[in-house]
């Protein structure tokens, strides 16, 4: 391996971040080339020193600051609100409801006979209700004499009572 390529790979070699094969090739060059080895050692020491500077920089929480930090986090979010309808699903719920309404409206608009059929159905239901009565009254009126006869028939249309 040439010195130029070795120097290009040094930034990764100093942190042991080169793939194994490449690293072994660079290292074998370093063992043969004192100037590249010197450069490698210089690079490694310099980065180590910078790391130590950074690691020496620390700061502390004040007790109240930490307590407030935790409190703020807990107050910023509630898991209980999301038990039934998680926030992320709310738009999905709204979209579903709107879709159902739109489908229902479009069905009635494109096929209004459904509405008529609906009203006929209610009429027939009323008739059925009447039929379900126990007796039927039938009143006959003579147009010539004005005489009235009222028949009361049962379910089987047998005469139960006649009122003259």
């Amino acid at each position: 391996m040439e010195c130029k390529k070795t120097l290009r790979l040094l930034p990764l070699l100093v942190g042991e971040d080169l793939p194994e094969k490449k690293a072994s090739r660079v290292k074998s060059h370093l063992n043969e080339c004192p100037s590249c080895m010197k450069e490698y050692e210089h690079y490694r020491d310099l980065l180590e020193e910078t790391k130590q500077w950074i690691r020496s920089e620390t700061t502390e929480w004040k007790a109240k600051e930490w307590a407030d930090c935790v409190k703020k986090a807990v107050n910023s979010h509630s898991f209980k609100n999301k038990v039934f309808i998680p926030l992320s699903f709310k738009p999905a719920w709204a979209a579903s409801v709107i879709l159902v309404i739109v489908i229902a409206l479009s069905v009635f608009i494109t096929n209004p006979s459904l509405i008529k059929e609906g009203s006929q159905a209610s009429q027939s239901a009323a008739l059925q209700g009447e039929e379900s009565q126990k007796t039927v009254e039938l009143t006959l009126v003579s147009q010539e004499t004005g005489h009235k006869i009222k028949w009361i028939l049962n379910k089987e249309f047998n005469l139960e009572e006649e009122i003259k």
Binding site: P11, W53, I54, E57, W61, C69, K71, V74, S76, F79
Partner: protein, 190 residues
Amino acid sequence: MWMRDEAGLVDKALKGDESAFEILLHPYRKGILNMAYQITLNAEDAKDISQEAVVRAYKYMKKFKKTKSFKNWIYKITANAAYDFLRKQRSDRNLIAEKERIGLESKSSPEEFYQNRETKEKIEFCLRYLTPKERAVYMLRDVREFSIKETSQTLNISSQSVRTHLSRARKKIRSQFERLNQKKGGADGM
């Protein structure tokens, strides 16, 4: 045993138990703050980032897999919060850094510069030209000793991208470090 305790605390925290959440985070509170501080080198920013990390930890607690390490999880969240912060602050930071650079270079002699600077300022000098991504990669890999894989997972970038940014970051740090040494050499020679 410890893992099981943490899992129990996670369950309690998920039910809204504030004290369980505090106990869960307590051993890592310094680590969270110092990770943010070492990335930003600003105590106030570090506290803001830590606050954001704690909020995210609570919010996404349901996504935490109890078989995994809580420590790694919370540090990844902190690193991510810090990275987001760096990206947001990038333009402001560049402006401030440029002002500082002009100020330092025009007002201070090399001797004054080296003798008066605190370690923090030397670090800031070395990291000045790193992009947010380079800085985040460098901090996670070199300072916090994350593996290449952990760094890539934390920042949602490929391992190759981690290596590329790491290499650039180390080159820039080296270049700045040598500038700093030149200043020191200049000061010593006076």
